[in-house]
């Protein structure tokens, strides 16, 4: 066994354990959920199976008992309780330790030994009255081979004798037992049910077709009917076994199924096929087959199709593990390629050679696709990160004597891998803050008229080229007075400064606040928020805090989807080029000198009757020279506000490979990065919200001096 295989197993085990934990935590909330129980069982089963395969015998042995317990849970013989969940969570931790530990060390681990004892105790408790106790409790040798069993689909026709009910048999129990074996579709045939005048209500007129896909063998099916063996006709046929029988394209035709079942002869089919309707309708209308039989055959067709689709989906889902570093270098190369491509396009256009232009366009199209594909490879759903926090919330809140649930939304939202990785720590910090300081103790909550159980909501959603992540708690909220007092004390604001709530909350992101213990105790926030801010800044994201005293706070993180390449609009002012992120842009309109004059010196213009304020970038960046007679306003939507930016010329769309700015320029406001154009010129990427904020602040300052 090579090390790479063992490494692969370790990686897989960590993933499985993560999933297992999630399933367990969910199961704690809905203990009767069979899907979840199934998930727990399967995860344990896989860990055991692949553990044994890769020589982790200690893990296989340890997991065996846990698996056995969950097999019983699955069979409804053991109930899911909180102690059982706790025990299993500890088992997850133990397995995690074993995966990390040197071989054989784990079995000597006293903790895992006592866990094994506990699981066996659970089994013994259940066993006392139950039959079939012989197999359980036995020590470790895995009973089933770890290889994956084949899924076979059976067609079962169950025709009980009329006196079935009289003998006290409930056919539904039998059917449900079959359902326990695997994916199962049941169709009852009722054509034998007579008219009500002739009906003997105590006789069974119904018979059944059951299509069952299971990993168990035919004997397991026969066992279900063991008590009615003499009171029924039972026919079991294999109709599909993972492509071991005929598997050429689609499943059998309806007529073939009916003939195979003996419901119809081949001649009758051929005759019926003479007309041109759907065969099911023809057969029923001509009275050859009872409608139930047709429906049953259709159900079989459907069942097999679904099974085969599932199998295909499972095969398609097969994935390749690639080291992240390889992906990163791929992205880098695509970035270079994008830059070169825009250069090629420029040269081609300049040359005017049609053949070259055509090739350049083709290359451009392909590279755009390549770029999108490469980016999507790096995209991961944020849900995996979210679910990690369930355990954190559970453990932390229990430790603090608080009742807190974590609700998550939008876990399917995809973000660049690197963004997700760097998001982990800030999110933990924010959630910790909410648990620690935001949400009150149960009694305090009750007094405040809130439910004793606090809720932390973690939500993610897409919006243009950004992802919003919101951490909301229904706790005490921020104490604005305490924040103000502290800020004044630390000289961060003047004693008489008027700040909006938003600005006030933003103060707690300042480094000075992190060490201020008093404020932490009063306001409940400020612990290391500067660290969070720094991480989010590094991701080119922004933080916004809103809060209401007594009802809770929300921290919103706005993050770029990716940090590598964006779609931008290239604009020019004099000889300087700038890129605006395309996602925020609404439209481009002309601005003539006459238009500008109409506004009497105010930077306002009317677009289709709507007054739109604009910012002259030429002025903002103090670029010398005369603006052309006709300028362009690029209108954008920033935080719901329509704002125009005036430039000399709109060059066009540009795939922008983002290069971070050197350290010297890191603190330059209004510029979020730079990119290199095809001809080698550097274009700055504008941070439109920051530009707007800067302009707003300037206007406010002017107004204040104007007043004073």
């Amino acid at each position: 066994m090579t090390d790479t295989h063992r490494e692969a197993f370790k990686e897989e085990a960590h993933e499985l354990l993560g999933e297992l934990e999630n399933a367990l935590l969910e199961l704690e909330k809905t203990p009767a959920d069979e899907d979840l129980i199934g998930r727990v069982f399967r995860a344990m089963h896989t860990i055991k199976g692949s553990g044994a395969m890769f020589g982790f015998d200690d893990i296989a042995a340890f997991t065996h008992d846990v698996e056995t317990v969950y097999d019983r849970v699955r069979g409804g013989k053991i109930a899911v309780t909180k102690p059982l969940i706790d025990l299993t969570l500890s088992a997850c931790d133990a397995i995690r330790r074993m995966v990390g530990a040197p071989e054989g060390a784990a079995l000597q681990d006293p903790q895992s030994a006592s866990l094994t004892q506990s699981f066996r105790a659970v089994l013994h408790e259940q066993e006392q009255p139950a039959p079939g106790a012989a197999e359980a409790g036995a020590p470790a040798p895995p009973q089933r081979p770890p290889e994956k069993a084949r899924r076979v689909t059976y067609r079962i026709r169950f025709q009980p004798v009329a006196e079935l009910f009289v003998s006290g048999t409930n056919p539904i129990l039998l059917l449900n037992e079959l359902r326990g074996l695997g994916a199962c579709t049941v169709v009852a045939h009722r054509e034998r049910v007579p008219l009500i005048a002739e009906l003997n209500p105590e006789l069974c007129y119904t018979y059944w077709d059951i299509i069952l896909t299971t990993e168990r063998d035919v004997d397991a099916i026969r066992d279900v009917f063991i008590f009615v063996e003499d009171a029924c006709e039972l026919r079991i046929d294999v109709i599909d076994d993972e492509g071991w029988t005929d598997d050429d394209g689609g499943y059998k035709k309806l007529g073939e199924i009916l003939v195979e079942r003996g419901d119809l002869t081949l001649d009758e089919i051929k005759k019926a096929l003479g007309s041109c309707k759907r065969i099911g309708d023809i057969l029923v209308e001509s009275g050859l087959v009872a409608p139930d039989k047709v429906e049953s055959a259709l159900v079989e067709q459907q069942h097999i199709r679904e099974e085969r689709q599932k199998r295909q989906a499972a095969e398609a889902a097969a994935s390749v593990r690639v080291p992240a570093a390889k992906l990163d270098s791929l992205v880098n190369m695509v970035g270079e390629l994008v830059t070169i491509q825009s250069r090629l396009s420029q040269l081609a256009t300049r040359s005017g050679d049609l053949a070259i232009i055509q090739v350049a366009e083709e290359v451009e199209r392909l590279i755009a696709e390549l770029r999108d594909n490469t980016m999507s490879v790096r995209m991961l759903p944020i849900g995996t990160t979210f679910s990690k926090f369930q355990r954190l919330v559970r453990d932390l809140s229990t430790g603090l004597g608080k009742e807190i649930v974590l609700a998550t939304e939008g876990g399917e939202t995809e973000l660049d891998k690197t963004v997700i990785e760097k998001l982990n720590d800030p999110l933990i910090h924010l959630i910790r803050n909410s648990i620690d300081h935001g949400i009150e103790k149960p009694e305090a909550r009750r007094q405040a008229g809130k439910p004793a159980q606090g809720t932390i909501r973690l939500a993610a959603e897409h919006s243009g080229a950004h992802v919003f992540i919101r951490i909301t708690d229904d706790g005490a909220g921020l104490d604005t007075e305490a924040i103000r007092a502290k800020a004044i004390e630390r000289g961060m604001i003047a004693a008489d400064a008027t700040l909006s709530e938003r600005e006030l909350y933003a103060l707690i992101l300042a480094p000075g606040f992190s060490t201020a213990k008093e404020v932490t105790n009063v306001s409940g926030r400020g612990v290391g928020m500067d660290v969070v801010k720094r991480s989010i800044d590094a991701l080119q994201g922004t933080i916004e805090i809103t809060s209401q005293r007594g009802t809770g706070s929300t921290v919103s993180l706005k993050l770029p989807l990716t940090m590598a390449i964006i779609d931008g609009l290239l604009v020019r002012i004099a000889q300087a080029y700038f890129v605006m992120p395309l996602a925020a842009i609404e439209e481009c309109v002309e601005l003539t000198r006459a238009d500008a004059a109409k506004a009497h010196g105010k930077n306002l213009t009317s677009i289709r009757g709507q007054i739109v304020p604009y910012i002259r970038l030429r002025e903002r960046f103090s670029i010398d020279g005369q603006a052309p007679a006709i300028e362009q306003i690029v209108t954008t939507s920033i935080d719901g506000l329509t704002v125009g930016f005036v430039v000399d010329q709109v060059v066009g769309e540009h795939q922008t490979v983002i290069k971070t700015m050197g350290r010297v320029y890191r603190d330059v406001e209004a510029v979020s990065g730079a990119t290199i154009l095809g001809d080698g010129t550097v274009a700055l990427i504008l941070d439109l919200p920051k530009l707007l904020q800067g302009a707003e602040a300037e206007i406010r300052a002017q107004q204040q001096t104007g007043r004073g």
Binding site: N170, A188, L199, P201
Partner: protein, 113 residues
């Protein structure tokens, strides 16, 4: 099983619809079959059901259809009833072929369970 009649030809069945009650259920429906042209069954109050009673309902439906009469259900049947219909494989996506409207007691609440 409890049976309640309302003024609009609706019969409300409540409680357990099982083999012990199948005889009474049959008598009730047989009698109604002889007396009315249209009958509607209200199954909201059913707390338990089994295959025997489903057979009786199915048989009644067939009889009504054969005699050009109407038997329908009203409202949403109780969850235990729907579960029995699903568990016993009685649910259908298309109604009875003998019914011109393709109506059926077993096409309940949309898709197959």
């Amino acid at each position: 099983m409890e049976i309640r009649y309302s003024d609009r030809g609706v019969v409300r069945l409540e409680g357990e619809l099982n083999i012990q009650e199948a005889g009474r259920l049959r008598e009730l429906l047989l009698q109604a079959f002889g007396e009315v042209q249209e009958l509607s069954l209200d199954l909201e109050g059913v707390t338990e059901a089994d295959t025997a009673c489903l057979q009786v309902l199915c048989s009644a439906h067939k009889s009504f259809l054969t005699a050009n009469k109407t038997l329908t259900t009203t409202g949403v049947p109780a969850a235990p009833f729907i579960r029995t219909v699903d568990d016993s494989g009685y649910r259908r996506t298309v109604g009875c072929h003998s019914d011109p409207q393709r109506g059926c007691l077993w096409v309940i609440g949309g898709g197959r369970g």
